[in-house]
C-alpha cells in the first residue's frame, strides 16, 4: 500500500506545483472534452486545430508587447481567436465554402507568423513555452483563468445545448423553427476559442487541441449516445491529465506531451477494442441474431 501511495498520490501530496498542474488539467479537460465532442460531431475536428494556431500570432503579439504576461498573451490570443472564429463562422454561413476549407490555408500561415514574432524578441525557452505550454508552472491567475473558462464553458454549453444538437443533426429543421442556430453557432465558436486559450497556457499551441479532440474521438468508440459521449470525453481527459502528470513526474518526460500521449493511448485502445465500431469488434464476427 505505501508503494501505491508513493506512486499515485505522493507526487500531488508533496508538491504544490503538481497539485496546481492537476487542478489545471482537470478543469481544462472538463471544458474541452464536451467542446471536442461537438467539434467532432460537426466534422470540425481540424477547425479546432487550425484555430489553435490562429491564437498563436495574437498571443505572440501580446508577448512582444509585454513579455510572458498572462494578461497580454491571453488578450492577444482571445482577440486573434475570436476574429478568426467570427470570420470563418460568417464565411461558412454566408458562402458555400466549408469551414475546413476556410481555415486550412490559415493554419500554417498563423503558426509561421506566431513563431516569427516570438523569435524576434524572445529566446528559445520562450518559444518552447509558447509551443508546448507550461503545465507545471501554472500561477494563480493562470489557474483561475483556466478554471473560469471551464466554468463558463459548461454553463454556456448548457444554455445552447438544444439548438447546438439540433443544428448538428438537422440544420434545416432548426432553421425552420427557430433563429437560435446562428447565435448558438457563434457562441460555440467562442467557447472553442476560450478553451484553446486555456489549453494554450497549459499545453501550448501545438498540443492544446489534443486534450479537446483525443478524448472526444475516444468517446465515439464507447457510446452511440451524445450525453454518454460527452461524459466519457470529459472523464477521459481528466484521467489522461492525472496519469500523464504521474508519468511525467516519475519518468522525467515533459508533462504536456505525457498527458497527450496518455489520451492518445486511450484513443488507440478505443479504436482497437471500443464496443461501438472498434476494430476488434468488427474483426470478430459473432453469430447473427434471430431478429
Amino acid at each position: 500500500m505505501p508503494m501505491l501511495y508513493d506512486l499515485l498520490i505522493a507526487p500531488f501530496a508533496d508538491f504544490e506545483f503538481m497539485r496546481r498542474a492537476l487542478a489545471g488539467t482537470m478543469a481544462l479537460a472538463l471544458g474541452a472534452g464536451p467542446i471536442g465532442v461537438f467539434l467532432m460531431l460537426r466534422r470540425m475536428s481540424l477547425v479546432g486545430d487550425a484555430m489553435a494556431h490562429a491564437i498563436l500570432p495574437g498571443a505572440a503579439l501580446g508577448f512582444l508587447i509585454s513579455g510572458l504576461s498572462l494578461f497580454a498573451m491571453t488578450a492577444g490570443g482571445l482577440i486573434a481567436g475570436c476574429v478568426v472564429a467570427l470570420l470563418t463562422g460568417l464565411v461558412s454561413r454566408l458562402t458555400e465554402l466549408k469551414e475546413d476549407a476556410a481555415l486550412a490555408t490559415f493554419y500554417l500561415l498563423a503558426l509561421a507568423l506566431g513563431v516569427t514574432i516570438v523569435s524576434v524578441k524572445g529566446t528559445n525557452i520562450d518559444l518552447l513555452h509558447v509551443l508546448f505550454g507550461s503545465v507545471l508552472a501554472l500561477d494563480d491567475p493562470t489557474l483561475l483563468l483556466i478554471a473560469g473558462n471551464a466554468t463558463l464553458t459548461l454553463i454556456v454549453l448548457a444554455l445552447i445545448y438544444r439548438p447546438l444538437v439540433i443544428e448538428c443533426v438537422d440544420p434545416g429543421f432548426l432553421r425552420s423553427v427557430s433563429r437560435a442556430g446562428g447565435p448558438a453557432h457563434l457562441a460555440f465558436l467562442a467557447l472553442v476559442v476560450i478553451n484553446l486559450v486555456s489549453g494554450f497556457h497549459a499545453l501550448g499551441t501545438l498540443l492544446a487541441v489534443g486534450i479537446m479532440m483525443l478524448p472526444a474521438a475516444t468517446g465515439r468508440f464507447w457510446s452511440r449516445d451524445i450525453t454518454a459521449m460527452i461524459l466519457i470525453a470529459a472523464a477521459c481527459g481528466v484521467v489522461s491529465g492525472y496519469a500523464g502528470l504521474l508519468i511525467s513526474f516519475h519518468s522525467g518526460v515533459p508533462s504536456g506531451p505525457a498527458i497527450i500521449l496518455v489520451a492518445g493511448a486511450f484513443y488507440v485502445v478505443s479504436v482497437l477494442f471500443g464496443p461501438v465500431g472498434g476494430l476488434a469488434r468488427q474483426a470478430l464476427p459473432r453469430r447473427h441474431l434471430e431478429a
Partner: protein, 251 residues
Amino acid sequence: MSAALQFRDLTLGYDRHPAVHHLDGAVAAGALVAVVGPNGAGKSTLFKGIAGVLKPLAGTIARGGLKARDIAYLPQAAEIDRSFPINVYDMVAMGLWRRTGLFGGIDRNLRDTMEHALAGVGLTGFEDRPIATLSGGQMQRMLFARLLLQDAKLIVLDEPFNAVDAKTSADLFDLVRRWHGEQRTVLAALHDIDFVRMNFPETLLLAREPVAWGETKDVLTAENLLTARRMCEAFDEHAAECVEPVHADAL
C-alpha cells in the same frame, strides 16, 4: 374561406434564374393540394419559398398571418446527419420546439403526446434506437411523427413518399388525410399521377410556369401533362432579363 397562402406574381429561383416563374394564386385554408410536375419543375423551390428558406426573386408570398416558423416543412432530402448519435425519441421531440423552446422540459402531458405520435406512425418501441439504425421507411415515419408534434396549421411535404414502400406510404398518407380532416392546409409534391387523381381534390401542375391549377380532374388532363413535359429544364446562361411579367391570368 380565407387563404392560407397567397402567391402574387411570385418568382423564385437561384442566381437570378427563375425556377418558379410568375406564379399567381391562392391556397384556401384547409385545402389538400398536390403539386405535380416533371423534375426541375420548381416544386421543391416553391416549397422552400413557402417555408421561408428561399427569398423570392420577385413577387410575394402571403402566409395568412402565419410566420414561416409556424409552417411544418418536410424537405425532400432533409439535411439530416444520420450518423449523429441521437435516438428516435429525442429526434421526434424536436417537433415540440414551439412548445418547449430552448429550455422547456417535456412533462407527462407532452410525453403522452409523443407516445401517441410514435404510435401514430407505427414506431412504438423504437424510442431508444439510434437514428443511424433506421431504414428509409422508418426514417420517414419518424419525420412524420415529428411533423405530427409540430401541430402546424400549414404542412408542406416535398415528395414525402419517395423511396418508401406501399405499406409505409399508405400509413403515412392516412396521417395526411387526418390533417386534412382537422382543417389543416397540406401541400404535397408528388410524382405518382394516379395516386394524386385518387386522393387529392386540388392540384397545381407546375413546369416552372404554372401550367394549370384547380380541381385535380381538370388539371391532370393529357394535354396539360404533355405541356408540362415539354418544359425546358436547363437554365439559359444567356437569358435576357425578364421585363414583361407574363401574368397567369389565363389560367
